[in-house]
C-alpha cells in the first residue's frame, strides 16, 4: 500500500510528533499531563501550555522546517552545495532592512516590517548572484566565501548605523536566534512560512529543472529567470519572517539539505518533505538541549545550532567521498 519512501517518511513524522509532545513538557514552570487534567493549580498549567509552550513548539517546527527548505532551494538554484541564507548575504540584508524600517518607520506594523526585510533580503541575494556571475572562477568553496564576505560587509554597515542610533541590542536580538521570547501573539507571522513551504512544494519540479542549468531549463520550455525569481522570493520571505520572529539560525539550511541529498538525491519533489521534517526535528532537539543543559537557564538556539552545526559541517567537509561538492 505504501512504498518504502512513504513508510520511512511516515516514521520520521511520527518521531517528530513524539519529540514535539516531549518539548511541550520541558520548561521552568511545572507543566505535566496530570496537572493539566487535574486542573489543580487554577488552570495555570493550561495557561502556560497555551500561551508559551505550544506557540514556542509551533514556532520551532515552522522556522526549522522552512529554513532548511529554503537552504535547499538556494543550493539547487545557485548550483552550489555550500550556499544558504546565512552564507549568501540574505540574512544580513534582512537585518539591514529591519534596521532601516525600525529607524524610518518605527510605527509600522510587524507585517510591514517583515515585508521590508524581505525586500532587502531579496536585493541582497540578487546582488550575491550578480557578483557570482562576474567572478570567472567558480570553485565550489569560493561561492560561499563570496557570500560570507558580502554578508560581512552588509553586516558591518548595519552594525555601524545600529551603533550610532543606539540600536545594537535590538540588532543582536534579531540576528541571534532564540525561541525564548516566543509567546502567543508573537510568532503568528511564522505561519506565512507554512504558506511559502506549500508554494515551494507545488513548484518543486521547476526548481529541480532549474538546478540542471539554464540550457536544460530553456530546452524543457521553462523560463529560467522566472523560476530563479520565484525561488529567491520564497527564500527571501522565509528568511525575513524567521529573522523578524526568531532571529538567525545558522548552518541549518546547510546541513539538513546536504544530509538529505546523500540519501535521496536532488529531486525536490522527493527531498522537500524530508528536508522539512529533518529541519524541524533538528531545531526541536537543539532547542531542547538548550533548555535542559543549564536548567533552569536557557542557551539561545542560535548558539546550540551553531555549535552542533559547525561540528557536523566540518565533518561533512572533511569526509573522504565528497559527494557533497
Amino acid at each position: 500500500m505504501f512504498d518504502t519512501y512513504q513508510k520511512q517518511l511516515g516514521i520520521a513524522v511520527l518521531a517528530i510528533i513524539g519529540l514535539t509532545i516531549l518539548s511541550i513538557f520541558i520548561g521552568v514552570s511545572d507543566v505535566t499531563p496530570e496537572k493539566l487534567f487535574a486542573n489543580s493549580d487554577d488552570g495555570r498549567a493550561l495557561q502556560v501550555l497555551l500561551i508559551s509552550r505550544i506557540p514556542r513548539t509551533l514556532a520551532i517546527l515552522l522556522a526549522g522546517g522552512s529554513m532548511a527548505l529554503v537552504g535547499m532551494i538556494m543550493q539547487i538554484l545557485a548550483r552550489n552545495r555550500f550556499v544558504e541564507p546565512s552564507t549568501a548575504g540574505t540574512v544580513e540584508s534582512a537585518g539591514l532592512g529591519l534596521l532601516v524600517v525600525t529607524v524610518l518607520a518605527p510605527e509600522m506594523p510587524i507585517f510591514g516590517k517583515m515585508l521590508v526585510a524581505s525586500l532587502f533580503a531579496l536585493m541582497g541575494t540578487f546582488l550575491f548572484l550578480r557578483i557570482l556571475r562576474s567572478i570567472p572562477l567558480r570553485s565550489v568553496l569560493v561561492v560561499p566565501l563570496v557570500g560570507i564576505v558580502l554578508g560581512g560587509v552588509i553586516g558591518a554597515i548595519t552594525t555601524f548605523f545600529a551603533y550610532r542610533l543606539d540600536l545594537l541590542q535590538s540588532l543582536n536580538a534579531w540576528l541571534t536566534g532564540s525561541f525564548a521570547g516566543i509567546l502567543s501573539g508573537r510568532y503568528e507571522l511564522l505561519w506565512i512560512s507554512l504558506v511559502l513551504m506549500i508554494a515551494a512544494y507545488i513548484a518543486a519540479d521547476r526548481f529541480t529543472v532549474a538546478g540542471m542549468g539554464q540550457d536544460f531549463t530553456t530546452n524543457l520550455g521553462l523560463n529560467y529567470n522566472r523560476v530563479m525569481t520565484l525561488g529567491l522570493i520564497i527564500v527571501s520571505m522565509v528568511t525575513a519572517v524567521v529573522v523578524v520572529t526568531v532571529g538567525m539560525i545558522p548552518f541549518l539550511g546547510l546541513i539538513v539539505p546536504n544530509v538529505v541529498r546523500q540519501m535521496q538525491g536532488d529531486n525536490v519533489r522527493r527531498t522537500a518533505p524530508w528536508v522539512i521534517v529533518i529541519g524541524a526535528g533538528f531545531v526541536l532537539v537543539c532547542d531542547m538541549i538548550g533548555r535542559v543543559i543549564r536548567f533552569p537557564y536557557e542557551i539561545p538556539i542560535g548558539v546550540v545550532v551553531g555549535v552542533v552545526g559547525s561540528i557536523l559541517f566540518l565533518f561533512m567537509l572533511l569526509r573522504k567521498d565528497a559527494h557533497v561538492a
Binding site: 548550483r79 552550489n80 519540479d205 539554464q214 530553456t218 530546452n219 524543457l220 520550455g221 529531486n267
Partner: protein, 252 residues
C-alpha cells in the same frame, strides 16, 4: 523544416556567426562540420533559442524561435548541449522523466511513463535506471542525456557533439541509435560533429562551416572530398571510397 535567415552573432567586434542563411530539410540526419571556432555550436544554440541572436530569424515549422512560447517550442524541438555539467544528484529515471516536462508539467501520466520506458530501452539504460548520474561513467551519462532528449519526443532533435566522452564502440552505437531514430521515429536530427567520417557515414546532408559562414552544403558524397576538406580545414586530406562510404584520411 528549419529556416535560418541571415542569422548573425557577434561579441563586441568579433563576429562568430556571420549572416548565415540555410534551410535544413525535415527528416533525416543533418551534420554540421567545420574547424574549431567556425561558429557551429553558436549557430546550433541560436536555432534552439538558448542564445539570443544579434540579427536574423530562425523558423522551425514556421514558428519564430525567439517569439514562440517556450513550452510550445519545447514540444517541437529539443537541444542537447556539449558540456552537461549538471551537478544535480538525480537518478537516470528521474532525468529521463524530466524529458516529459513540456507535456506533464511534473505530473507524468501513464502515457508519459510509457515514453520514459521506451527511451530507457532505446539507449539500453534499463539496468541502471535507478542509479544516480554522479555514479555513472561519462559515456553512460551521455546516453542518459540522449535518452532524456529522445523522451521529449520532439520532431526536431539538435545535439552538439553527441559523441563526446564516448569510445569507439559507444560512438558507433550512438550514431546507430540516432540513425534509427531518424528512420523509424521520423525525427529530424541536427548534429554538430567533429569527426567528419561519422558525419560521412551516417548523415543525409552535411553543412560545412568556416569563419562563421557556410562554406558549402550538400550530400556526404558532395562534401566529403579532398578539395572541400582542404578548403574548410586547411590541411591536406585524402578521401577514399571504402565500402561505398567516403572516408577522409588526415592523420599524417
Amino acid at each position: 523544416m528549419i529556416e535560418i535567415k541571415n542569422v548573425t552573432k557577434a561579441y563586441d567586434k568579433a563576429v562568430v556567426v556571420d549572416g548565415v542563411t540555410l534551410q535544413i530539410p525535415a527528416g533525416g540526419i543533418t551534420s554540421i562540420i567545420g574547424p574549431n571556432g567556425a561558429g557551429k555550436s553558436t549557430l546550433l544554440s541560436m536555432i534552439s533559442r538558448l542564445l539570443p541572436m544579434n540579427g536574423g530569424q530562425v523558423l522551425v515549422d514556421g514558428l519564430d524561435v525567439t517569439t514562440t512560447a517556450g513550452d510550445v517550442l519545447a514540444r517541437r524541438l529539443s537541444i542537447l548541449r556539449q558540456d552537461n555539467h549538471i551537478g544535480s544528484r538525480l537518478t537516470v529515471r528521474d532525468l529521463v522523466t524530466f524529458g516529459r516536462y513540456p507535456y506533464s508539467k511534473g505530473r507524468p501520466t501513464v502515457e508519459d511513463l510509457k515514453h520514459v520506458r521506451m527511451a530507457l530501452q532505446y539507449l539500453n539504460l534499463e539496468s541502471m535506471s535507478e542509479r544516480f548520474l554522479d555514479e555513472l561513467s561519462g559515456g553512460q551519462r551521455q546516453r542518459a542525456f540522449v535518452a532524456m532528449v529522445l523522451c521529449q519526443d520532439t520532431d526536431y532533435v539538435l545535439m552538439d557533439e553527441p559523441l563526446n566522452n564516448l569510445d569507439m564502440k559507444h560512438a558507433v552505437a550512438m550514431m546507430k541509435i540516432l540513425r534509427r531514430a531518424a528512420d523509424e521515429l521520423h525525427k529530424t536530427i541536427v548534429l554538430v560533429l567533429h569527426d567528419v567520417n561519422f558525419a560521412s557515414c551516417y548523415s543525409d546532408y552535411i553543412v560545412a562551416m568556416k569563419d562563421g559562414k557556410i562554406a558549402c552544403h550538400g550530400s556526404p558524397y558532395d562534401i566529403i572530398n579532398a578539395n572541400v576538406m582542404c578548403n574548410v580545414y586547411e590541411i591536406d586530406v585524402a578521401v577514399q571510397d571504402i565500402d561505398g562510404k567516403r572516408i577522409a584520411i588526415y592523420y599524417t
